[in-house]
């Protein structure tokens, strides 16, 4: 089903073109342009919702999500260190990637839920932003300990003022301030074109994912297994947390998807600066080469089924 959503087909097209070593490339500027549009659109969508919600009501959700962002890398780290036999820095960096989120995966889930007519708490982008950050800090501490060497000021700057966060948060604030009517004039670009832009983005993601295959071969099967098992585990955590927070089934599936997604933009950039001794190829191979394709191709429907089943059992 999801596999037939045209945007997924664009991902497969990019993947195939990449694997067949096609000359197809998207200029870096085009990739940045579509990323910027997606980040702003997602932020704006979430911001509109925030206007409708009493902030206090969101606080528990926000804190719970922050906690999840701290927890997930702490779970992943020992697995990578002992089972995966990775160097400490590499284990910490990969853990940070999986504790954080992938906006692209979220966007695909939004599109999938829309076609499936699944509703979810619209303020999800707020949780997305919150989930992006804590894992990075955990990752640095796991790699370094709380050493004085770490320039936390620089880290904070890198993390909070990175492109992704600024555009998401900025979109949230603009959407919150302007409200649905205020945004109607810019809706044609940010909302009507959303799925088309997402299609172009996924075409490029397919090309990028294909480029990881070589490294994947080299670093053996562990990354492959971890890149699929970890998201499944995170999805369970996310579903459970959503249930405790009293989210809808759709909201639970969405939070599961966020938990299951692995960063490939914010975290790599931050790790490269803050934990340079970690080999960036390892984490990118896992998150871009394994987890992203897994999530967009089969993960998202699985997470929804999981949430539905869980809510049926637990009674949500």
């Amino acid at each position: 089903m999801s596999a037939l959503d045209p945007i997924i087909l664009f991902f497969l097209l990019g993947l195939a073109a990449g694997l067949m070593r096609s000359a197809l490339r998207l200029p870096a500027a085009v990739y940045e342009f579509v990323s910027i549009l997606l980040l702003l659109a997602i932020g704006l969508k979430g911001g509109i919702e925030l206007a409708r919600q009493p902030f206090a009501m969101l606080l528990p959700q926000m804190l719970a999500v922050l906690a999840m962002g701290l927890l997930l890398p702490l779970v992943a780290f020992p697995v990578l260190l002992y089972a995966g036999r990775f160097k400490r820095a590499d284990a910490a960096s990969i853990a940070a990637h999986y504790g954080s989120v992938s906006v692209g995966t979220y966007a695909v889930a939004v599109a999938y839920f829309a076609t499936q007519g699944i509703t979810f708490e619209e303020h999800m982008p707020l949780l997305l932003v919150l989930l992006e950050i804590p894992a990075i800090l955990v990752g640095i501490v796991l790699a370094r300990g709380l050493s004085r060497e770490t320039h936390w000021g620089a880290v904070a700057h890198e993390v909070f003022l990175g492109k992704g966060i600024v555009l998401l948060l900025g979109g949230l604030l603009i959407g919150w301030a302007a409200g649905p009517d205020g945004l109607s004039s810019i809706a044609p670009l940010f909302f009507d074109l959303f799925k088309g832009v997402l299609a172009i983005f996924l075409l490029e993601m397919g090309l990028l994912a294909a480029a990881q295959v070589g490294a994947l071969r080299q670093y053996g099967p562990f990354l492959l297994v971890f890149g699929i098992a970890m998201p499944l585990f995170s999805a369970v955590i996310g579903t459970g947390l959503a249930w405790m927070l009293g989210l809808s089934v759709g909201g639970a599936a969405m939070l599961a998807t966020l938990a299951a997604s692995a960063s490939y933009i914010a975290v790599p950039a931050a790790m490269r600066i803050s934990v340079p001794e970690a080999n960036p190829t390892l984490s990118l191979t896992a998150s871009l080469g394994v987890t992203f394709p897994f999530n967009v191709l089969v993960g998202i429907p699985i997470y929804y089924a999981l949430a539905a089943k869980a809510y049926a059992l637990l009674g949500g």
């Binding site: 870096a28 990028l208 933009i265 790599p268 950039a269 490269r272 340079p276 001794e277």
Partner: protein
């Protein structure tokens, strides 16, 4: 190669990951260079291909014209702080500048 010694300076070329541009140019200025020039690049080396498909995999090509001591200082600094962890190469050559006082 340079006729007159006073007009001769070092051209230091650094090719490395785009991710370190900000901190790198900060260091270069701190170590006494009066300027630098950056161009975007792609390439391949011991750390594999960096094809500039997107930020994470793109390189920068930095040129610094400076005196021999500054070049030495920068080289040493890079060796100590960047070489171990970043895709990076560096080389120097002699150049003849038009306004020596600038560099």
């Amino acid at each position: 190669m340079a006729q007159s010694n006073e007009r001769t300076r070092k051209l230091l070329t650094i090719i490395t990951e785009a991710a370190v541009e900000a901190s790198l140019v900060r260091d270069i200025e701190r170590l006494g260079a009066h300027g630098y020039t950056v161009t975007d690049a792609r390439g391949k080396g011991s750390r594999g291909a960096r094809n500039a498909g997107w930020e994470t995999s793109s390189n920068i090509h930095i040129e610094v014209v400076c005196d021999a001591n500054t070049a030495q200082a920068i080289a040493t600094h890079l060796q100590d702080h960047y070489y171990a962890n970043y895709a990076m190469i560096m080389f120097t050559m002699d150049v003849e500048v038009l306004r020596p006082e600038k560099f």
